[in-house]
Amino acid sequence: MGKHHQVFRNYRQEHALTKRRVVVAAVFVLLMVGVLMARLFYLQVMEYELYQTKANDNRVMLVTEPPPRGLIYDRNGVVLADNRPIHSLTVIPERAAKLPELKASLSSIVDITEEDWAEYESKLKEYRRPYQSITLKSQLTDDEWSKVSVDLYKLDGVQVEAQLTRYYPYGEAFAHAIGYVGRITSRDLERVDRLAYQGALFIGKTGVEEYYESTLFGKPGISKVEVNARGRIMSEIERQNPTPGKDLHLYMDARLQQYAYDLLGNYKGAVVAIDPNNGGVLAMVSKPGFDPNLFVRGISINQYAELRDDKRLPLFNRALRGGYPPASTIKPFMGLAGLEYGFSSWSETYYARGYYQINPNGRRYRDWKRGGHGWIDLERSIIESVDTYYYQLAHKMGITPIHTFLSKFGYGKSSILDLNGASSGLLPSNEWKKARYKEPWYPGDSVNVGIGQGFMVATPIQIATANAAMAARGHMYYPRMVDRVDGNPAVFENDDGVEHEIKLKDQRNWEKMVRAMEKVVSDSRGTARRLQGTEYKIAGKTGTGQVFSLADDQEYDADNLDKRLHDHALFIGFAPSDAPKIAVFAIFENGGSSSKPADLTKALFDAYLYNKYPEKYDYFEVQRR
C-alpha cells in the first residue's frame, strides 16, 4: 500500500511542510526560552531582595554563648555557689545513626538511663534547628568522659561538650537560703528572654539563685557565624563576648549558718539570725535541708519522690513558709501595744492566778504555772512569761489595736526584700474573721492571740524581723540577703520601706522593754536564766507553742505525749543588748522546752560576737577568697 502512494508524492511540498514545521519549532523554542528568562527575571530581579534575605538567613546563624554565672559569697568571701566545668554527651541526630543502632553502640561505652533516652526522644520531637545538638547525658564522670573520648571517632554525630555547671560546696545547710539552679523548662522560658537563654543549661529555681537570676545570669555572648547546610560553622562574622553574671556578697556568715544548722540536731526547725543594724540575714536555716547539687545534676524521679514524700518535709522552707504560733515571743510586743494604747503601764500591778476567765464560770484560760504567779507587774510578766497577764491585756484591748500595732513589726505580711515565696502568716482581724468564717470576732479569740496562739500564725523570718526591730529600738529594717552586687551596695526598689521607724508615744518604753527582756535571762526567776554567765548582756524571750490543745482540766505531760504533738520550742534574743549586733530567732519543732532554742541562740551569740566556734568550722576560714 505504501508503494502505491509513493507514485504521487510531492517531495517539494513535503520538504516545504517539514521546513515550515522546523520554523514553527524555532519560534516555539524562542517562546519557551522567553518563559525561562521571564522566570529568572522574576526571581532574580523582582524578588531579589526576598531571596537575598533568605540566603543570608541560611548562611548567618546567631550562636549564643552562655555567660559564666555570677558566684555567691558569704560576708567573709566564702564561696557558697560556685561554677565548675563539666562534660556532657551530646548528639546531632542528623549525623548520628538511627536511634536503635545509636542506643546499641553507646550502651557498650557509657551507661545511659532509660530516663535520659526518654528525654532525648522528647527533645527530638520539639522544634529544633537542623544539625543542632541535643544533650543526651549531662555531667559525665571523669571515667565516662575518658571512655567516651577514646571511642568517639566510631560514633558519628556524638560529641562531648564542655560546659560550666553550678556547684554548692556546703550542701544541705544552705539549700533553702541560697536555693539552687536546675535545668531550664519550657515554663521557665516563658518568663525570660529565650534568645538569651539559648544554649544556657541552668536557671535559678529557688532562693537567692531565683530572686537574683537576672543579676547572676549576665549577658550571653552572641556571635554571628557563617554556617553551611550541615550547621557546621565555617567562619565568624561578628562576635560579642559574653558578660559574666555579677557576683553576690551576702550578709550571711557561712560558719554561723552551718553552726546553726548543726545545733538544731535531729530536730526539725528553723533559725534566722539578723543584723539589727541593717536587716542583713546572717543565717537562715530550715532543717532538714537537702543536697541542692541533686537538682543541678538533674534529680531522678525516685530521688525526687523520696524527698517530696519524706514526712520531715526537707523541701519545705520553714524559715520563709513555716506557719507557727509565735507563742510567748509575742509578749514583749503585746506589752508595748498595751502601753501604747493605754491599757497597761509599768507601775500597775496584777494578781496572776493559775487561770484567766472572761466571765465567772466561763472557760478557764490556763497559765503555764499551775498556781499562778501572784502579784506581778508588766516587767515581771515578761520575765516569768505570765500568760494570764496577757490574757487579760488582750481581752481588754480587743483585736483591732493588736492588729494595728503588730503589723508595724511585719506580722501578717511578707517582708523579706529579696527572696520569693515567703508566706505572710496570719495576723487576724475582725474583717479577716468575718471573711474567713462568717463569724464576728469573739473576746475569747483575743485572749488566745494575747499569748501568740489561737488564730495567729507567723513565719520564722517574721518573728526574727520583729525581734530585730525590738533590738534596734524600733528602727526597723526589712530583712535582706544580699549586701553587695559586684562590690556595689545592693539597691532595693520594690518595697514601701527598706527601713522605717516605729514611733512609740513614749520612746523610753523601748529601753524599758529591752531591760525586761534582759531580765528574762538575768533574773533568778527568768525563764531563760540558764543563759546567765556571759560576758555580754543578752535580751531574750522564750516561747512554747502549743501544737495540741489541752482540755481545761488536762495537764501537759510530755512523757505520755506523742513526739509529734510536743510543744514547739521558741526563743528570740539579741546581743549585746545595749547595742545589738545580732538578733536570733530559733524554733525547734516539737522541741518541748524552750531551753533548746535558748541554748542554740547563746551559742550563736558566742560564735558571732567572740568567734567561739568549734574547731571543725575552721575549714570556712580556709575557703575565704
Binding site: T18, R39, Y48
Partner: protein, 373 residues
C-alpha cells in the same frame, strides 16, 4: 564585520578538511563553547574539586569521540538500522522490567558481565525519533489518522515501559522525542489542539497511576513551603540560590548557597542554580545563548536536510535537546516539577552526555553527507 571577514569565515566553515572529516564546524564550535562554560561552572559547583572536573572532561571527550565517530556514518545506514535498533531496545526494556537492577526502588539498568551496567532507556531517546522518522520516510506527508495512531502506539509503548521503571524524566524525553518527529512530519493542527484540550484529562489519568513518591514530588512542587526541611528543601534552596544571585551574581566561587552546601545536587541536576547565584541573570542569559547557538544550528541542519528521514530525525533530536534544557531550568527555578533531568552537557556525570553527543554525531552526519548540489 566586513564582507571580507565574512567570506573568509564561510570559506573556513566549508573547508575541504571539514567535508572530508564529516565535521560540522559550526555545531562543533557551539558545543565547545557550551562544554567549556559547563566545566567552568562545574569547578565551582563541585566545591573546586579538580578531580571531578577531570572526570567530566574525560566523559565529554568520550562523548566527542562518539559524536565524531557517528558523523562518519551516512544517514542511509542509520535509516536502515532504525527498526532493528528499535526492536532490540524494546526487547531490552522488557528485560529491564523483568530482571533489571537499580536503586531506590527503581529498576533502570541491566547488569552486564564484568560489573558493567547498561541503561536501555537512555538509548531509546535516540532510537525513538529514528523509528518515527523511519516510519514516515517512505510515506507521503502530512500523516493520515491511521498513521498517526500507529506512530502514537510506537511512541507510547517504550515511553510507558520507561515510566514503569520508574523513570519519569527519561520517559518524558523518550515520549517528546517521538512526538516532535510526529509534529515535524506535519501532524495536523486540529490534532494538536485536540491533544492540548485532552491534557487536563490525561493529567488526571496520570495522577491515578503515579507512584507515591511521584505524587509527592507533584505536591511538593505545588507547595514546597509545606515541607521545608523535607521534600521542599531542594526547590526552596535552589530558588533562594537563583533569586539571591540577582542581576550580576555574587561572583565566581562566592555563592553562599552553593559553596556552603545549602544547594543540594549542586553539581548535577541543580547546577544552573550555581551559575544563577554566582553570575546572576546575565550569566544565565549567556548560558542560554550558548544553548540557542547549538539549537539554532541543529534546526538549520534539520531545515536543510536532504530527505524526510533526515529532517524529522535532525529536528526532533534538536528539539529533544532543547526540552532537556527547558525541563531542567524549569524545575530548578520552580516552574516545573522536580523530575530528575540533568542540564545537558553541563551537569556532572551520567550516561546522558554520551547519548546527547551521539545525537550531535547524527546531526553532523546528516549535514555532511549531503550530495553536493
Amino acid at each position: 564585520m566586513s564582507w571580507q571577514v565574512y567570506h573568509r569565515f564561510i570559506a573556513f566553515t566549508n573547508a575541504r578538511l571539514w567535508r572530508l572529516t564529516h565535521v560540522d564546524v559550526l555545531l562543533l564550535a557551539a558545543l565547545l563553547i557550551l562544554m567549556s562554560g559547563g566545566l567552568f561552572i562545574l569547578y565551582s559547583a563541585s566545591g573546586q574539586d579538580v578531580a571531578m572536573v577531570e572526570r567530566q572532561v574525560l566523559r565529554l571527550g568520550i562523548g566527542m569521540v562518539t559524536c565524531l565517530g557517528l558523523a562518519q556514518l551516512p544517514p542511509k545506514y542509520m535509516r536502515r538500522a532504525s527498526p532493528f535498533l528499535f526492536a532490540v531496545l524494546v526487547g531490552l526494556l522488557i528485560c529491564v522490567l523483568l530482571f533489571g537492577v537499580g536503586a531506590k526502588g527503581a529498576q533502570r539498568w541491566l547488569a552486564l558481565p564484568g560489573g558493567l551496567r547498561f541503561q536501555p532507556s537512555e538509548f531509546m531517546k535516540i532510537v525513538m525519533p529514528m523509528m518515527v522518522a523511519w516510519y514516515f520516510a517512505n510515506r507521503p506527508l502530512p500523516p493520515k489518522l491511521k498513521e498517526i495512531i500507529t506512530v502514537l502506539v510506537i511512541i507510547a509503548v517504550p515511553s510507558l515501559m520507561v515510566a514503569k521503571q520508574p523513570d519519569l524524566g527519561t520517559a518524558l524525553l523518550v515520549g517528546v522525542s517521538g512526538i516532535f518527529a510526529l509534529f515535524l512530519a506535519g501532524l495536523g493542527w486540529r490534532y494538536i489542539l485536540g491533544a492540548a484540550a485532552a491534557v487536563p484529562v490525561a493529567a488526571y489519568g496520570l495522577w491515578q497511576v503515579m507512584r507515591d513518591y511521584q505524587k509527592q514530588r507533584v505536591l511538593t512542587f505545588l507547595d514546597p513551603e509545606s515541607d521545608p526541611l523535607g521534600s521542599g528543601w531542594n526547590i526552596i534552596q535552589s530558588k533562594t540560590a537563583i533569586g539571591s544571585g540577582g542581576l550580576h551574581g555574587k561572583g565566581y566561587l562566592e555563592g553562599t548557597q552553593a559553596q556552603l552546601n545549602f544547594l543540594p545536587e549542586s553539581h548535577t541536576d541543580f547546577i544552573i542554580a550555581v551559575l544563577a547565584e554566582e553570575f546572576g541573570m546575565i550569566g544565565c542569559a549567556m548560558l542560554m545563548c550558548a544553548y540557542l547557538l547549538v539549537i539554532a544550528r541543529g534546526l538549520y541542519i534539520a531545515a536543510y536536510a536532504e530527505d524526510n528521514y533526515a529532517r524529522l530525525l535532525a529536528g526532533s533530536v534538536t528539539l529533544t535537546f532543547f526540552v532537556y534544557m527547558f525541563v531542567n531550568i524549569g524545575m530548578v527555578s520552580g516552574i516545573l516539577p522536580v523530575v530528575g533531568v540533568p542540564l545537558p552537557l553541563v551537569s556532572y556525570g551520567g550516561t546522558s552526555i554520551i547519548t546527547i553527543m551521539a545525537t550531535f554525531g547524527i546531526l553532523m552526519s546528516i549535514q555532511t553527507h549531503k550530495r553536493a548540489r
